[in-house]
Amino acid sequence: MYILGILFRRLIQGVFVVLFTALIIFTLLRVVPGDPVRLIVGGMAPDSVVEQIAQKMGLRDPIPVQFGRYLWLLGHGDLGQSYVRPKTGAVASGAEFVDPTKSQMASVGQLILTRLPYTLQLATCAIAIALIVSFAIGVPAGLAPGRWPDKVAFFISSMFVSIPSFWLAIVLALIITVRLQWLPSIGYRDLTYTILPAIVLSVEIIPFLVRTLTVSISQLMKEEFVTAGEVRGLPKHRIVSRHVLRNASVPLLNLLGVQISTLLGGVLVIEYIFDYPGLGQLTVNAVLQRDFPLIQGIAILTSFIFVFVNIVVDIVATSIDPRMEY
């Protein structure tokens, strides 16, 4: 029941977080300069037509009214229709507004669902790579604080945290893909195209994971239960794998929850550079094209993922260490 209680509280909080995010994004998009209707109707349409379409779409109503309408549709699972992308998938801009196909604009939900699997695949690969590397570096560093494994971990973390991801993406693509031709990375045809972007993304989060692991393990190794284990004759590898790592996994999990936001931010740049057909690339193009419904939909999904992951992290952390309270 305790976990259910946490779940309930977290869900209530999560709903408020998502709603607040939606409100902020919705308002900001409507106060920035530029009229999305101009984009919809095309640059050559007269202003009277712009106004006519804007009225028809309700875009001249007060923002609270528009937001209320948006929430009502959202409550019915409708994220709206893209302003610029018809169902054919092409990007509609620079054309006339009297266009029969534009009544067939793509639904935001469908656009997101088409791209989300690619981003989930990329994020999963990135987290897997990050965890493998972090454990390989962080555990030895935590077991030998102040000695060379710790120094190596510190050096690698410092280096990784200093590298701009867009620069690393271009350099890796140039060296690994273009020069050495070991791995393809531009565009997408199969899973191999995910590896290089995932490596770049993982570099963004590895320093934080390594640092957390190192500090947690080194502190835990000073705890009484470790000394007791040694006195009872337990081998060190067993103490570390069965007890220390279990306790160290709680802060690591919490950090992973927070790092999801880094990951979601990172995919914007990485997918754009690698021409990777995921949610990040869709977001960048939506922003460049001022496709408001799409931007809103992605923002809401992103905040939902963030909230959901953190709820899962809280529950799992509580399960691992029942002493934790939320």
């Binding site: 610029v84 054919t88 534009k102 699997p117 531009i186 199969d190 191999t192 922003v287 460049l288």
Partner: protein
Amino acid sequence: MNGAQDVSIGGIWMDTLSRRDFAKLSVVGGLATLPILNTDWLVSSAEAKDGKELVFLSSEAVTGNWDPTSHTNLGQLTVEGFIYGYLTRARMQQPDTDELVYELATSYKLLDPHTLEFKLREGVLFHDGKPFGAEDVKATYEYGSLPDRPAQWYPGRVDVEVVDPLTVRLKTAKYGYPASLYIYLSSFLPISSAKDVANKTTLSARPNGTGPFKFASQDGDKTVMVANDKFFKGVPKLSGVRVNYVGDATTRALSLLSGQADITERLENEQAQDIGKNPAFVLRKSVSVENKYLFFRCSKPPFNDPRVRLAACHAINRSSILEVMGESGVKSSAHISPVKFGYIDVPEYPEFDPAKCQALLAEAGFPRGAGLPELEYLTSDGRYPKTKEYGEVITAMLQAQGFPVKLTVMEPAAWGNLLYDRPGGGAGHMIDCGWATGSPEPDLVLRTHFHSSSKRITGIVDKELDASLDKERSAPSLDERKRVLQQETLPMIARKAPAHSLFTSVFIHAQRKDIEGLFIYPNGVMDASVANI
């Protein structure tokens, strides 16, 4: 923990969740999400791996509306170039920039100043199987010339008489301009099927032409075309063409270098130079039909005064801009590209001259710029090469002469929103834009921008300019038209300066060295009918 026994997921009790249970849950969760995860990697696509499909990375996305008269989008014009047929084609190669090559037409004859006759090719089929004939030319031209068509490539309404199934006569007497204008336009206007023109939904929904490649699908930002095995010049050697929109120039360059694409366009100068050094690739540079302009908003102060516009032109040292552009631009001294019909280096074209600039400013009542309002100069970043960089140079040069200029750099969509003239003068005071039309016809630029019937970006209304543009359009022969253009119209535009033509773009395409037979027109449209890899 009491009472927790009521809650279980897959047999795992929530109050006793262990790491093993968590692992089990993770596996169950992972399996549950499998259906939505991308499984394409299990079967790698064979697309483009046989080396027969040409993959072109475009810097501009298509519009989603396939009606050729609905847009002015260069990316879509490129796609149309693969799919549609044209009465003629203009390769616009110096020195014979006016030369036309027959395609769907086999000959043309000017019967009188207002009647142009085209004989049409027999045995040509549209991609949907319909035979091409005179009714298609009639439907296409009469529809495209309607005043409500957004592309506005036509000089005015035109009536088309069907003489026989393979002969048409374009008649313009009723609309008061010479039919000879369609000689060069015939190389630019794609021919649609009469059946499609009769059904606008079909026309907008998918392209259907007589060209070497058939539209297959639109997959996101990818336009997929396959070879037309009934193409009248013979089956293309390529199995198909795929046009991918990739907005970022660095990504386009990396994609080409890594073998993911065969050809790309609009690279930054530095990227093009690097690729040029690689023996596996070649650069194709051609003086394009595109001039880059600094358009003035002529219908509102202070640029409603031609002296202020001319003063601004004299404040700008175009050599400095060309230094920024490197190989991506060449000097030209007229408001049309050197590959257009009638081009001449206009002797009075405004060059950098601070003294003249100051004299004109003083004459207009703004000595050293005093009294001028803050002038907003709008430009885009990412749409054209180096616009932001040379925009900063122009801003500094104008400021040095006393123009209180503020540069606003926008992403292409926002810039596109503000590009065109509006009642009251449009956004800002100056805006940067290029204009590329795949025909030697100069009116596709001149009339579009500087005649009061269109005044697309400038908003200029000037009776003298209108009269001169009408005069060159109505000249009884091409020779006379060229004379009027070179001696009257182009010099007048240079004097009135509704825009300052900064330079002519050089289109740089980078491609695999082993692509043979591909021809690239000066507006970037390609002829891949005999190309092979």
